[in-house]
Symmetry: D2
Subunit: 304 residues, 4 copies
């Protein structure tokens, strides 16, 4: 099947949502992005690749980085990681302190901010040059040496991360951060600042889509079972407090970021990345979600 | 592949858990069940069927009935149903009132008790003989006319359903129950009392596993898209507050009940039902979960 | 001191608030009251009485009845009562289920609905003709045999008490209601339906203001210490989730009702009842609160 | 009346509780205190003073400092303060983040940690040498120039204040801290480290007990109405999540600290300070509460 006509059709169908929502504006680097952009890249396991729109424009991946940091932390710590982080959907906002207090500092899952702070802490504890290690890992996955952190984004995030600082100190209070809080926040914000295009992301997530073979990239090694489990967590927790809706509408493991990117995958078949900065009230890209919903509806290729 | 040797192997592996946990004991009909039973039935889409242990012994399906009632309610009301029930994991216990109060009487999803009370209410409003209609639907799916409600279980449940009554009155307060509270509780408890064997359940869930074709059974009609969406909700919300763990360990859409049954499915491949009465602290069958984890690990056939 | 000129002055001062807020409208009997009424009655311990406005017009006392039922239940059960009800401010709305769930069915205090349902249950268990006993107690306190229940209000409340039913079933679930839920709701709604004037209420609460002598009225007997403790609970919990504000502004033990009445007392000095149907968002009479604030500010006679 | 025999009697009565509970041990400076000490000082408005036990031994006043900082902040900012802090009992632990998140960063009252961080922030913003100003204010109230901060306690508190840091960053996130978080924490911990004896505290709180005259001490000026309102907040919120119980048992405005001190007052009559390091599960001195309960029961001198 040639997917290009379908992708063009989807592009037309979602045009009606082109001006709904607005981009994240809590830091200048995100607020200043032109919101009227859309890109998509589809990688089929057989080697074919399809592009649409601004598929080669880099954007801030933000929370999508949480999948990469989970992969690294799980590779480093193994199943002990699950003594410090749960695997359940949170049922609350990604930055909520309420559940974390009730559950004594054990984050619900690795994709809420609290959980990703813990994965950052694990990496800081066990890797000598964590920033170099991490960017090298991402570059290797995406097969693109030009991927970088954005210093501007890191700086901005650090200057307005009071809520994350509050979460981090609560984790520290419960003994679930081993490094200095400011070091953890710095590394967390740095990882969120990575800039990638849809092409980069789609290619990088092929490593997770190939879940029937072991994962071994740039020093990060995961068994088949662990790759499948990362995919399972993407399925149940990948789109903040809209993960159930996304599973319902799209039916694929995926992860989103407030930069407007969403990357999804069909195990053993394909990975697909979309990007459009305008977000809904849950922090997910409106055109991105719609494009993915149409894609799995038209192809009838959801995992369900 | 002949699955029988694998199933026998799994049976031996899980023997070590045979005396962990205990059965539900809040009503005599469940407390009096012999807890040391185990059954399993696997139906492959190509027609093969495999059995293990007490696969033909009937047990109380309890919350597994919520999948059937969701199918009926969705068939009757269509997408309007989602104005009365959400699709997100709850992040809290299946019988919690907290979230329901904060969210003004809209249950998080159709598989927590509050959500299933609403699906019961929908059916009561739109079907003349709801109990007859429902049991006929279940019998048709399982191709077994000998499936029945247990009057004893219904009576017992009704005599100790104060918490469900509390939830029902809170729904009523918010305008999200249209029928008399006691009629809804009666119908809800009746549906939970259905008794089926693993063979019955596995066969019945083949209708959901066949998600690439429309669902049309005993007057309940669902499009391909709706069947897939029911499966997606099973994936994110099917095992109470352990749905994330189950997705992580097993990786299949599934639904469990406090009678000790769990039924899971791999879309377009197979459905599998297990039963063993001893439960963990979340209300899910210990041996059942373990058996399913081993099955998807050994076959490497999870959807992820 | 002659209080009449001060009371007249207060009446003028609060005129500016005469049209703020609106009366309770969840039942016809309250919705149909003329909202533009105001009454006040002040009883000094030395025997003097002062009146203002519609001080002799009867209105629905609603939650003010919770003080009377607490007095009866405490007289009957003694300190054992505090094993079933707490004494702490709730920090949440008077009809919240959240705290009750977290605290396993022990209401925070006797003046939230959950707590008053438990006091009603205690009375039902220990008194043969509870409705006769209760109205006789209230008539004796107020020295007015013409005080009665309103059957219309009771009927209306019972027909729209889904939220209280939800609370009652949650109490029942936790073993903290011993009688039939519907009997408890019926008695609870009946007690709330009592109709009294400001004159009646002010006179009745003199029994609590006289806290340096034992309380013995119509078969209800309380030691000095217990009367003081009822007053203390009025201080910390008497005005729903506005008790702190009221202590801050007025500085007297008091109890309010959604009928627009508030009755307050200065131990060993006076009791004062006000009534005006228009309520603020917390369910307390706007003109009533303002009148009491002015009264204690002008006289500098708060307990603090 | 000569209170000395009564005080001696109380001392004997509470001996039975002498070994219940244990002192705070989260910092060495508190853990190393001899827990088996008891002191009491009573100041009557007519000038008489009574002593019992270790009434002249200094201890860490901890949260009792929150009354002094509230007085300063209210003097500085006036009623605008109440736009940043509420006046309601919290119904939850003194260090809970849950309510603060739900209520968007406005602390429930000035005596929970979140509220006291805001009063510290107000003082930092408006006073040039806040630490000097504050200690001078406390010395003036207690008429004792030898009262000092404990540098050791301040240092210890600062080294283990992750939970307060979490609260402070959440306040900052909501715009309710204007100064640098670390400056606020430093000033907050410094104020908590003040060391005073029962004699100092009882004398200092006479300024609040004299609520029928304006408060003007060391540059801190409060109207009669404002003093009464501080007393009202002590009544409803002064003993953490045990304020209702304390009002019930003792019936006086009061403030406690985890150093084991409690100071209470009867407006226009007396102030009384007790100290004993062993605490109950709510963080209040066991012997201290018991002594005060006996004192108001025996004298029948509660405000109710």
């Amino acid at each position: 099947m040639d997917y290009q006509p379908l992708l063009e059709h989807i592009r037309q169908e979602i045009e009606v949502y082109a001006h709904d929502g607005k981009q994240a504006d809590y830091i200048p680097a995100l607020a200043n992005v032109n919101p009227d952009q859309f890109g998509l890249c589809l990688n089929i396991l057989d080697g074919r690749t399809y592009h649409l729109g601004a598929s080669d424009v880099k954007f801030s991946i933000q929370s999508i980085s949480k999948v990469f940091s989970l992969a690294v932390a799980l590779s480093l710590l193994g199943k002990e990681l699950w003594q410090r982080i749960g695997k359940e959907p949170s049922g609350t906002a990604f930055n909520s302190l309420v559940q974390l207090e009730y559950e004594h500092g054990k984050p619900r899952n690795p994709f809420i901010n609290a959980g990703a702070l813990v994965t950052a802490d694990v990496i800081l504890s066990l890797i000598d040059n964590p920033k170099e290690f991490f960017i090298n890992f991402v570059r290797t996955l995406a097969d693109n040496p030009d991927i970088n952190y954005s210093e501007e984004v890191t700086r901005s995030e650090l200057s307005c991360c009071n809520l994350n600082a509050s979460i981090a100190y609560l984790l520290k209070h419960h003994g679930n951060l081993h490094n200095d809080v400011h070091d953890v926040l710095d590394f967390y914000c740095t990882m969120c600042s990575v800039e990638m295009s849809c092409e980069d992301l789609s290619r990088a997530f092929m490593a997770f889509a190939k879940s029937s073979q072991p994962f071994s990239h740039a020093g990060v090694n995961l068994s088949i079972s662990r790759v499948k489990r990362i995919n399972a967590i993407m399925q149940t927790c990948g789109l903040y407090d809209e993960s159930g809706e996304f599973a319902f509408l799209v039916g694929l493991p995926a992860k989103s970021g407030v930069g407007g990117g969403i990357v999804a995958l069909y195990p053993s078949r394909y990975s697909i990345a979309v990007w459009s900065p305008r977000l809904n009230s849950k922090g997910n890209s409106i055109m991105g979600m719609k494009a993915l919903e149409l894609f799995t509806s038209e192809t009838e290729e959801s995992i369900f």
